[in-house]
């Protein structure tokens, strides 16, 4: 009577199957990771946040360059400004920052303003931002 269970050849086949199965699982994981990466890039707004933070910081520096009063409407046709929050920070002991936030994600960039300056301001999800500079004090407000 033949022995029950797997013979030598059978054991080898099972081992091969397990190895191949493991390979498929690992390849599947790699594929899933790459797909997630591509999707993350598709949705990523890091570039927009970088552009906006630097653009607005340059704009603020330009305002302070001018010795006169300024009224300016900042809009951008290519980037939807209403996706972002703009936070203008000023702390007398450290650098002033513009924070461009989208949810928990943010990008910050420094700008320079005169020492005696207005308190920090926030402009949340604007279609465009209105800047008013009068007597060296700058105000940023939401423009619907």
């Amino acid at each position: 009577m033949p022995k029950r269970g797997l013979n030598k050849k059978g054991t080898l086949i099972t081992q091969r199957m397990l190895i191949h199965l493991g390979m498929f699982v690992i390849l599947g994981i790699i594929w899933w990771v790459l797909q997630s990466k591509v999707k993350a890039i598709e949705k990523d707004t890091e570039f927009q946040r970088i552009v906006l933070s630097r653009d607005v910081a340059l704009l603020l520096n330009t305002f302070y360059t001018s010795p006169g009063d300024i009224e300016y409407n900042y809009s951008n046709n290519k980037l939807q400004l209403d996706k972002f929050e703009f936070i203008f920070e000023f702390d007398s002991s450290s650098v002033s920052f513009i924070r461009v936030k989208e949810g928990a994600l943010e990008k910050i960039y420094p700008y320079s303003k005169p020492f005696e300056a207005k308190i920090p301001q926030q402009v949340l999800h604007p279609k465009s931002i209105k800047f008013l500079k009068k007597n060296n004090e700058l105000e940023a407000m939401k423009n619907e």
Binding site: L12, Q15, I41, I50, T62, S93, S96, S112
Partner: protein, 172 residues
């Protein structure tokens, strides 16, 4: 596991290793193609130069009519001991300014004299060495050297002059 099985297992590990290597290469290439760096150093240094050039701490300000005379350098302000601290407050990047610096050289063309002042002298001296050593990358800095023809207000007299602004900004 017999000899053949062991050989196949090793072969499979090699394939898996190769697959992981290819995946990492794709990952790196993808990251490389995403533009995340925007270089605005040139515009920033031009802006700094203009801020200094248009500053009320550099130019003559007539308090009676509340008017700033741009590119008319007030020699009294320029040579005063408080010039450094006043201009740091005018172009204010915090108490410890690690964002911008400049050396201002005012040449009096009528009398052939030269006056030197600084915006953030400490950072300027620190970064000047790196710029002259032509070091690039994070930690180093960039220079923009610009000359402007100006008028120098020395008392009630106006003289011809050149203001050289040697701006040095650290690489971000």
């Amino acid at each position: 596991m017999n000899k053949k099985g062991a050989y196949e297992a090793i072969q499979s590990f090699i394939y898996i290793g190769a697959a992981i290597f290819v995946a990492l290469a794709i990952w790196q290439l993808t990251n490389g193609f995403i533009v995340q760096k925007i270089d605005i150093a040139d515009v920033e240094s031009k802006l700094l130069t203009n801020r200094i050039l248009f500053s009320s701490e550099v130019n003559y300000f007539d308090e009676e009519i509340n008017r700033l005379y741009i590119v008319v350098v007030d020699l009294t302000k320029f040579n005063s001991e408080e010039f450094g601290s006043k201009i740091l407050n005018e172009i204010y990047y915090g108490k410890i300014n690690s964002e911008a610096s400049a050396k201002l050289t005012l040449k009096d063309l009528d009398e052939n004299k030269e006056y030197v002042s600084f915006y953030n002298e400490e950072l300027y001296n620190e970064k000047k060495v790196l710029v002259e050593a032509r070091l690039t990358g994070i930690g180093s800095a960039r220079r923009l050297d610009t000359n402007y023809y100006v008028l120098i207000k020395d008392g009630n007299e106006l003289k011809k002059g050149v203001l050289n602004i040697d701006a040095i900004l650290p690489n971000g």
